[in-house]
């Protein structure tokens, strides 16, 4: 049964036009007085809601250890192929030598990134997060590629209570390594 919209003939006030225009002018006058709905952007910043997907960043754990182990899952999952990782070994004498690997270089090309968040979703180490940073600008293509140092600078440290690698090391010391 099709839904029939009833087309009423125009009333007298609608055909006279002026009452309708005056009613419209009343509405616009109300808006003239009403407070602005816009935000003056560079001075006022919008409140970022939780779960916002901003610029992807690399984060450290509370002990200051870089969490990325360069498993390259994000590189493989990245739909626009914006991520490029060069895996590297961790020196034996380093305090984090018990961790498998670390990225030697980690580049995210922000001209390719589509902010889909798949890298964050796929990361087994919770090392990559799309955080609140929403404004990425630059004058050259090179500037728009975030290297590892820049990614950590943007990411900072996020709270994390897993300490997965420390637990693994402790377990190994107690002789029940899997």
């Amino acid at each position: 049964m099709p839904y029939v919209v009833e087309r009423k003939p125009l009333t007298l006030s609608e055909r006279l036009y002026f009452p309708q225009i005056l009613a419209g002018m009343r509405v616009t006058l109300k808006h003239l007085i009403a407070p602005n709905v816009t935000m003056e952007y560079p001075e006022q910043r919008p409140a970022i809601p939780p779960g916002y997907r901003g610029v992807p960043t690399l984060v450290m754990d509370p002990n200051g250890r870089e969490k990325c182990v360069s498993c390259q899952l994000c590189e493989f999952v990245c739909p626009p192929k914006a991520i490029r990782i060069t895996p590297g070994e961790i020196p034996h004498n380093a305090p984090t030598a018990h961790v498998e690997k670390a990225p030697q270089a980690f580049d995210i090309d922000m001209l390719r990134c589509i902010y889909c968040g798949l890298c964050q979703e796929v990361c087994p180490e919770e090392a990559i997060f799309l955080q609140n940073q929403y404004s990425m600008t630059g004058y050259t293509r090179e500037e728009m590629v975030n290297n590892k140092a820049r990614l950590y600078e943007l990411g900072g440290t996020l709270p994390d209570s897993h300490h997965k690698w420390d637990k693994k090391k402790a377990a190994e010391a107690h002789g029940n390594a899997h």
Partner: protein
């Protein structure tokens, strides 16, 4: 002061008129520019935005409260916009008919600034205690001169449209000319009752705008009533035609961004384009000025409260300069109110379709205007002997 007055009196009358004319144009031109800023601000406020509020010369930023306030008002955007127009590349497309293309913006300005001469913008009491108008040329043909000269403005639109040698400007020019010509008739017919009213049979007739205001300057009865109260329909028809004549929304067929890019001025840039806009705003200023003179009592502050009476209250009778300024302020105030109404309507009503514009003009407004004229002609013929 008296030395200046003596110097002024010793000048040749032609030089005097030239200086006066330049002074009025010197006021009109920036006002036309200022209207574009007011338009931007009003549209912004109606859309819930702050509007232009960034530009500020650094020396104004040093003034504590006033500087930022002016910045928020966007006053300096006016200068920035104007300056930008002068500094932009003045491109001349290769495919245009150069002579007429360059002529069109000039032609747009001429009628816009010429009509000012016959529009009185204030009044003072001369030595004999009689009301004298502040006007460049108090012609007896007054309103006729306004209509005759301002309708020349359509030539600039046609020229711009044709000379651009491009389809959208062409269509815009054709539409604009058709629209201007059709609404001119109802506009002229709508003001005739006013002049029937002020010209008593037997006396010498006049179409002077000053006479219209004089008629509305009484203190009681018909002579103090503003014509908008006695002839509301004529006022409405005149106002609607004024919207159409000045190419303002809802009648901006000439520009019609959605289907004609920019209409007749699509191919224009920099100051040539700016001239079209100053001309449009000047037309608006003069149009609202004429409306105020015809229907809203000109420089009289309230119905039945004429300027002379206010002069008596404020002891300004023997100070023509101050009284003249006061009358100009009152007149400009009413005029600016109408400028605001123009903008208010622009940001309220969507654009008519072209056939609707023509239908409204020929099938609704024209019969209304003729009917209105006949009605008032009979009414005035019946009433006039009684007052």
């Amino acid at each position: 002061m008296s030395a200046v007055m003596q110097l002024w009196a010793s000048l040749h009358p032609v030089v005097q008129m030239l200086v006066k004319g330049l002074a009025v144009i010197g006021v009109m031109f920036p006002f036309g520019g200022a209207c574009s800023l007011i338009e931007r601000k009003v549209s912004a406020w109606m859309q819930g935005r702050p509007g232009p509020n960034r530009a500020i010369p650094f020396w104004f930023a040093w003034i504590p409260v006033i500087g930022p306030f002016l910045q928020r008002l966007g006053v300096f955007h006016l200068l920035a916009d104007g300056g930008k127009m002068f500094l932009k590349e003045d491109s001349l497309p290769g495919h245009v008919n150069k002579f007429y293309f360059l002529l069109a913006p000039v032609l747009a300005m001429i009628p816009a600034l010429t009509t000012v001469t016959v529009v009185p913008f204030g009044a003072y009491l001369d030595d004999a205690g009689r009301l004298a108008p502040l006007v460049l040329a108090n012609l007896d043909v007054g309103i006729l001169a306004v209509f005759a000269v301002s309708s020349l403005g359509v030539y600039s639109l046609i020229l711009a449209g044709w000379a651009s040698n491009s389809k959208y400007p062409f269509l815009g020019g054709v539409r604009a000319s058709a629209q201007l010509i059709s609404y001119e008739i109802s506009m002229t017919l709508s003001v005739l009752p006013v002049f029937l009213m002020i010209n008593a049979p037997g006396g010498d007739g006049s179409l002077s705008l000053f006479r219209v205001v004089e008629f509305q300057s009484g203190t009681s009865g018909w002579h103090g009533t503003w014509f908008i109260l006695t002839m509301p329909l004529a006022a409405v028809i005149f106002l609607v035609s004024l919207f159409a004549e000045t190419n303002r929304l809802p009648f901006d067929m000439a520009e019609c961004d959605a289907d004609l890019v920019g209409g007749f001025h699509t191919e224009y840039g920099s100051m040539k384009w700016g001239l079209f806009f100053v001309a449009e705003y000047s037309h608006m200023l003069i149009g609202s000025g004429v409306f105020v003179l015809l229907f809203l009592g000109g420089w009289n502050p309230l119905p039945w409260v004429p300027l002379e009476r206010v002069a008596g209250w404020l002891h300004l009778v023997d100070k023509p300069l101050l009284l003249g300024l006061l009358s100009i302020v009152i007149f400009m105030g009413k005029g600016l109110l109408f400028i605001f109404v123009f903008m208010w309507v622009r940001w309220t009503v969507p654009r008519f379709r072209y056939d609707q514009v023509m239908k409204l003009g020929w099938q609704k407004l024209l019969p209304l205007a003729i009917g209105n004229l006949i009605f008032y002609a009979i009414l005035i013929a019946w009433l006039q002997p009684k007052f």
